[in-house]
């Protein structure tokens, strides 16, 4: 079983709402990542973090922000949701050093 948890699993919200997607891992991994993925499609890196108080933007600008106050927690916030944000959001973590990523099950977001 994966030790990385994402909540909520599904979310339907209205345009303009502020939302936070939660991601927590119990493996003590320093590196964490957020990806956006349409079903069965390629993964786009949104944000990543190499440790507490470290955050960087990825290749896809999705008008979101992240924080990393604790090693185990890496929440993603959309300040003003739009229909174009409708997608699946995947969180991942790794020890680094070619250990591979562990992914969460994702949050399926629909903005109406």
């Amino acid at each position: 079983e994966a030790d990385i948890y994402q909540t909520p699993r599904y979310l339907v919200i209205g345009t303009g709402k502020k939302i936070t997607l939660e991601c927590s891992q119990t493996m003590g991994h320093d590196k964490m990542y957020w990806y956006q993925q349409d079903p069965g499609m390629e993964l786009h890196l949104i944000h990543y973090s190499y440790g507490v108080n470290s955050t960087e933007k990825g290749d896809l600008s999705s008008e979101s922000t992240v924080s990393r106050i604790r090693t185990e927690h890496f929440p993603l916030t959309l300040e003003s949701a739009r229909p174009s944000h409708t997608s699946q959001y995947l969180c991942a973590s790794t020890l680094g050093g070619n250990y591979g990523y562990t992914f969460g099950s994702g949050t399926r977001l629909t903005v109406v």
Partner: protein
């Protein structure tokens, strides 16, 4: 810019056949090449990975073949089963860059009974 190119986009194989998915890269600094398997509604899961100092790695029915000079690597699924039907992603990483994995666009595999 897509740093890892993956083909085919979709693949249909009969049960018992061999599934082959190919990936190519340009950045010679990449030193880690994992494959991920993703079922609908789930996050990708690490399937098998290889480093460029070996040409082949086998785990059960899954084999990675790696050609460093051609900058290509491929996943072979032997004796393909309907339960292997999933989306497969190749990826590449430069462990010295401090950056994230670069994923291919994915291959949707369907194994028919």
């Amino acid at each position: 810019q897509q740093q890892v190119k993956q083909s085919p986009q979709s693949l249909i194989v009969q049960k018992g056949g061999i599934s082959i998915i190919n990936c190519a890269y340009e950045n010679t600094a990449f030193d880690y090449f994992p494959w991920y398997q993703q079922f609908p509604g789930k996050g990708p899961a690490l399937l098998i990975a290889i480093r460029p100092d070996v040409s082949e790695k086998k785990e059960g029915r899954f084999t990675i073949s790696f050609n460093k000079s051609a900058k290509q690597f491929s996943l072979h699924i032997m004796d393909s089963q309907p339960g292997d039907s999933a989306t497969y992603f190749c990826a590449a990483e430069n462990s010295n860059s401090g950056y994230a994995l670069n994923f291919g666009k994915g291959t949707s595999l369907l194994v028919t009974p």
